[in-house]
């Protein structure tokens, strides 16, 4: 190997090392962000359990649409599968198929938001904030609204990633945009995994 070749290899490996650690730093920052968001939702859910075990206990109102709650959980669960498939396909270089799965995830995210909108529209009639279930209603709108906002930001993040992918800006194994948005989407699903029983099931 010539001296210039060795120097090139050395430079390349140094650059790869730097890129790899940038990716690691990015993912570490994402995990820290997700942890902080987790604390926020934990606090909100703690309020639900505090009310549930207070005297008199704040029960789940019968007016709550159980079918719609289950449908929302199902939509988010399916979107987690499409997001997982998107990441797996991206990892194996199947970028077109990955983008289709990301588009499906966005579509399911919109369906989820429409479902929450329907839930709120029904709720404003049957579960008003100032009504007899005021405590539960306040928590319900706060938690589901906050979560829906996270779904919306997840959708925006995926759309950004898709736009970058279509421009060829996500090429190379060092790019973690798809991995990052998919991780965020799974986090949104994990949060709903706790919100769903806390608001719709336990009584």
């Amino acid at each position: 190997m010539t001296a210039s070749g060795a120097a090139g290899l050395s430079g390349s490996s140094v650059r790869m090392s730097r890129i790899y650690s940038e990716k690691q730093r990015g993912l570490f920052g994402l995990w820290l962000f997700l942890a902080s968001e987790g604390f926020l939702f934990t606090a909100l859910l703690a309020a639900r359990f505090y009310f549930l075990f207070s005297s008199p206990p704040v029960k789940r109102p019968d007016e709550l649409n159980q079918g719609l709650g289950l449908a929302l959980a199902a939509v988010l669960l399916v979107s987690s599968l499409t997001a997982f498939r998107a990441e797996a396909l991206w990892r194996f270089g199947e970028q077109k198929r990955s983008q289709i799965q990301l588009l499906l995830t966005v579509l399911l995210g919109f369906i989820f938001l429409v479902g929450v909108g329907i839930e709120w529209a029904e709720g404003f009639h049957e579960l008003p904030i100032g009504g007899k279930h005021a405590s539960f209603a306040s928590l319900f709108y706060m938690i589901t609204g906050f979560h829906a906002f996270h779904v919306l930001t997840g959708i925006i993040a995926i759309i950004f990633a898709l736009r970058m992918a279509s421009k060829g800006q996500l090429a190379g194994s060092e790019n973690w945009a798809v991995e990052g948005v998919v991780k965020y989407w799974h986090f949104v699903d994990v949060v709903w995994v706790f919100i769903y029983p806390a608001l719709y099931l336990i009584n």
Binding site: Q24, Q66, A88, L89, A198
Partner: protein, 70 residues
């Protein structure tokens, strides 16, 4: 392992985890509407679902391995 079999394997694993999560959600729903089961049981199911998602979909288990590699 070829690339095609690697993709197939990954997608198959994702589908299996999805089916397990769907089953747990259905169980959770029925125990929830029966209202005879305690909060601890339903929330335990939620924790199990969350662990599945974090372990298999978010790859939490690979975190330490990645940092060792770097």
């Amino acid at each position: 392992m070829t690339r095609d079999s690697g993709v197939g394997e990954a997608l198959k694993r994702g589908t299996v985890i999805f089916l397990v999560l769907a089953l747990l959600t259905i169980v959770e729903f029925f125990f929830g509407i029966m209202e005879s089961w305690n909060i601890g049981f339903i929330m335990t199911l939620a924790v199990v679902k969350a662990v599945f998602i974090m372990w298999y979909f978010m790859h939490v288990g690979q975190l330490s391995r990645r940092y060792e590699e770097s």
